[in-house]
Symmetry: C2
Subunit: 198 residues, 2 copies
């Protein structure tokens, strides 16, 4: 009974967002209370625009406001390489490296028998079709470095190799800027296995 009703409702809605706990939700709600109406309008409009205008690319399944997407239609990207990721947000992670200039393919998840996610639930057929169409020389498997991502990468490699394409997996090892002391056993093992001559 300490908050007026509409504020309580807003705090409840905000707490449904990922990474927003009770304290953050309260701080945000009080902020919105003090914010001019036009600013709140801009935020609400931006949310609706995202819902209305963003779709998935019919080629690579990445999010886009034009179909096919920017990457698939760009003449300046290298159409001989496809980087396979689990989620649309992962595309941004790879782009930020500024090391990759090829295309993408978003699987929309990873194989996870425990959660009932099988090959037909992912955009695997589309990927195989793209490779079978020809022109692709390398498929980089950038699924997550966890059990599901690894299983998905191994599964995809088995399907892709017979198509005569080079299949690679992103390196796993100790993260840059971290301290070896905090690396877990499996990561350390991968770092040793993947060691390179200098």
């Amino acid at each position: 009974m300490t908050h007026p009703d509409p504020l309580t409702k807003l705090i409840e809605q905000l707490q449904r967002l990922p990474g927003i706990g009770a304290k953050s939700a309260q701080r945000l709600a009080y902020h919105i209370l003090k914010t001019p109406r036009e600013e709140v309008d801009r935020l609400a409009q931006a949310m609706y625009e995202v819902k209305e205008r963003i779709t998935y690319c019919s080629t690579c399944s990445n999010i886009t406001d034009v179909d096919p997407c920017f990457f698939c239609t760009s003449p300046s990207r290298d159409h001989r390489a496809i980087c396979v990721v689990e989620e649309p947000e992962n595309v941004n992670g790879v782009e930020k490296t500024r090391q990759y200039n090829g295309l993408y393919h978003v699987l929309m998840g990873a194989l996870s028998p425990l959660h009932g996610v099988g090959p037909d639930d992912l955009k695997i057929k589309d990927l195989l079709a793209r490779v079978a169409d020809g022109g692709v020389q390398e498929v980089i498997l950038a699924t997550n470095p966890n059990v599901e991502g690894e299983a998905t990468a191994i599964y995809l490699a088995k399907l892709l190799k017979p198509l005569g394409v080079k299949v690679t997996r992103i390196a796993m090892g100790v993260p840059v800027g971290s301290d070896l002391e905090y690396a877990d056993d499996v990561t350390m093992q991968r770092a040793m296995e993947g060691r390179r001559e200098l």
Copy 2:
């Protein structure tokens, strides 16, 4: 160019919120993208409701959806005590202690000559009028434990004491659950000054 336009706009809007950095804004935007339209509607509606239905209590300046507010009209609260806070969100902080059953008065800020906030910019006249009306026996000054809050408390005490009311200030000292090692000098000094016999 890595995000479609509407998503970039939403990320920009989200980053304007307090405590939301670039990474959180991106995570939230992708979440909203995946969220059903009805859920987004509920959040947007909750924001608008807060803007439209919440006003300030004409007596204590706390936020409310009815005027006068819940506290000012409640027969179960002790109308002989007024707790003075800077912002509406501070009311909730005091309420959570479950130790206080009196009324509130929200100043809407603190004295800050550097930021051009003088006595006339705060709800000080209303407070003095409430005390002058009689019935109030104690005014608890719960302004922030910083320079502005302290100055405001001292200023208010000078105005309130001649009205024949008991004026108290919340205790300052080392926070519960913390380690003395991390207490700053001023806090430690306050903790020593405010020591009590056991």
